[in-house]
């Protein structure tokens, strides 16, 4: 089976004046089931790297194989389908739709990309059970605590059974208790074989990961 992520000499230059070289010649290999923490100071290029890995952004140069597929040559539509199928995202700010219930927010993950409508709610409830949110299924997200919101967002990311979970500061808005709960959840997912990439500032978070890479000024180094 191919590695989940193979980056080779990936650069991302934002064409501003002066140009910003957010990623410089990055090489990275992530195997199936890896749990990788990406650390680095603010503005070092962590989010840019995550967007590139999540096919939300295109590298200026270099090669990126996702599950053995060369993504840099794909068109917009193919990248979108691949993203929907292979990748789950978890953000610092949750990105839950305020006017929809918890269950509806989770079900949103199956709206695009040809998933069957049958049993969608059942699958959403299973995902919510996995993150321990079964008791808040029909709540609007506004009534949830920060930790609960992030668990709902994780349930949504798990809904499409992705090969890869990309998390940008998932505990950035949480207190230590909630951070602990989310990290326990990640440990469980890792134990089930999911591939995880987590951007973080916090040592407590990166300490849980099996592997840590540091990025500073767009240059990646293994620790």
């Amino acid at each position: 089976m191919p590695d989940v992520i193979v980056l080779d000499a990936v650069s991302r230059v934002f064409p501003t004046d002066p140009p910003v070289r957010a990623l410089r010649d990055i090489g990275l290999r992530v195997r199936r089931g890896d749990y990788v923490a990406i650390v680095g100071p603010s503005g070092s290029g962590k989010s840019t790297l995550l967007n590139t890995l999540g096919l939300l952004d295109r590298p200026t140069s270099g090669s990126y194989l996702l599950n053995g597929t060369e993504t840099t040559v794909l068109g917009d539509g193919a990248r979108t389908r691949l993203r929907g199928r292979e990748i789950g995202f978890v953000y610092q700010s949750f990105h839950l739709l305020p006017h929809r219930t918890v269950a509806e927010n989770v079900m949103l993950a199956e709206v695009y990309g040809g998933h069957p409508r049958r049993h969608r709610r059942r699958r959403a409830l299973e995902a919510l059970e996995l993150v321990g949110m079964s008791h808040r299924v029909d709540f609007p997200p506004g009534r949830l605590s920060g930790g609960e919101r992030q668990r709902v967002a994780i349930a949504r990311a798990l809904m499409g059974e992705p090969a890869l979970l990309l998390c940008d500061e998932p505990t950035g808005n949480l207190d230590s208790g909630n951070t602990e709960a989310v990290l326990d959840l990640f440990d469980g997912l890792h134990a089930h074989g999911l591939t995880l990439l987590v951007i973080t500032h916090e040592d407590e978070v990166s300490a849980r990961a099996g592997r840590r890479v540091r990025i500073s000024d767009g240059v990646l180094t293994e620790e």
Binding site: G77, T80, R85, V111, Y112
Partner: protein, 392 residues
């Protein structure tokens, strides 16, 4: 993406901000209401006018002939000149004087001699074209022809009311009537008159026969024209009838129905549709504006949807459908309000409302179209966003 999911997402998007969505429909509601009222009232009023100024009156011309000092102004053969004019369908001359209007007429009632059958009736002389020109039909028997006229036969045709008053119901046995104690054979009964209703209570004699009753000169000419020719014929007929004294003739032409109708239609057709269209444009701009604001507010939602696998066209379709739904809602409400208004206006004017079902169906479609057009630019903006920028 399943089309049902698209519907559900768009509907949820509209219902997420119900007050804003409702306010956004207002412009469209106003525009569609105005247009429906305009079209509905125009159709209703148009129907009224057609009812009042029907084809019959719009094509009837009467020429009154005054008594000329030096002989008759119009001869009995003059109608032939008018008949030649293009657009004339029938012409007839008749004579009626003050004296001939109150003559004593009696019938020899063989069935019931005791019945009082004497009446004071008008006696009118007319040419054989009279039934056609008066737009009547022979209820019994026939009208006199050129032969009767030439020979000066003592025959009469009764108007249907006159026949009833005189008790002449059947023509078998050649009933006679007495005008001033002279007998005339009744050969027909004229009824169903479309114009010149006085004839229904009159006794009609051939011109040659009328001379004996003081009906020497033509006093009136009835002209019928094809639709739209009345104006022209009204100007040409006097000249044809009496080339030398045409300005002494008095022409009574229909009250130009075209103009009466235009008057009403000008009111409803001039200002209101413009108002409706302006409201509709304002409504479209309103929807476009609000949808654009909504798109900007939902940038992170757009980013999220893209990260969940939504293609650009899915984003565009959702916002287009949302603005279309808002426009269509405006159209539905506008159609309802408009139709209610048409009924109310009709009730106030005692008109029969004319409600076109196509109008009720077209209004929501028009509203949806307005919404669709208004949503084009915002949807394009939403679809163009780069997911990485949208999620920042």
């Amino acid at each position: 993406m399943d089309i049902r999911d698209l519907w559900a997402e768009a509907l949820a998007g509209v219902l997420a901000r119900p007050v804003r969505s409702a306010l956004t429909t207002l412009g469209t509601v106003l525009g569609i209401t105005t247009l429906v009222i305009t079209l509905g009232v125009a159709a209703t009023a148009g129907n009224q006018i057609v009812g009042r100024f029907d084809e019959l009156t719009a094509t009837a011309i009467t020429v009154e002939v005054p008594a000329g000092p030096g002989g008759p102004l119009v001869g009995w053969d003059s109608p032939a000149e008018v008949r030649r004019l293009r657009g004339v369908t029938s012409v007839s001359a008749l004579a009626q004087t003050e004296e001939s209007s109150n003559l004593r007429v009696t019938a020899n009632d063989l069935v019931d001699p005791t019945r009082v059958t004497g009446q004071t009736l008008a006696v009118v002389a007319g040419d054989p074209e009279l039934p056609r020109a008066a737009r009547g039909r022979m209820v019994e028997g026939r009208f006199f022809d050129a032969g009767h006229v030439r020979r000066g036969d003592r025959v009469v045709v009764l108007g249907d009311q006159a026949a009833r008053m005189l008790g002449v119901t059947r023509l078998t046995g050649a009933p006679a009537v007495f005008i001033e104690d002279r007998a005339y054979t009744v050969i027909g009964v004229l009824g169903g008159l479309g114009r010149e209703q006085v004839l229904s209570t009159a006794v009609i004699v051939p011109p040659t026969t009328g001379v004996g009753l003081g009906l020497r000169n033509v006093t009136r000419v009835l002209v019928n024209t094809s639709l739209g020719a009345a104006d022209l014929i009204a100007r040409q007929a006097p000249v044809a009838l009496s080339p030398n004294h045409h300005d002494e003739l008095q022409v009574i032409s229909p009250p130009t129905p075209k103009r009466a109708r235009d008057g009403v239609q000008d009111d409803v057709n001039g200002l209101f549709p413009i108002l409706g269209l302006v409201s509709l444009v304002v409504g479209a701009v309103g929807i476009a504006n609000v949808t654009l604001v909504t798109v900007m507010e939902r940038v992170s939602e757009i980013g999220l949807r893209r990260s969940l696998g939504a293609a650009r066209r899915h984003i565009a379709a959702q916002f287009l459908l949302e603005s279309t739904l808002i426009g269509m809602t405006g159209g539905v409400i506008g159609a309802g309000a408009g139709l209610v208004s048409v009924v109310a206006v009709s009730a106030a004017q005692r008109w029969t409302p004319v409600l076109d079902a196509r109008l009720a169906l077209a209004a929501p479609v028009a509203g949806a179209l307005v919404g669709l057009l208004a949503g084009l630019y915002p949807a394009l903006r939403a679809a163009r966003m780069e997911p990485a920028d949208a999620l920042r």
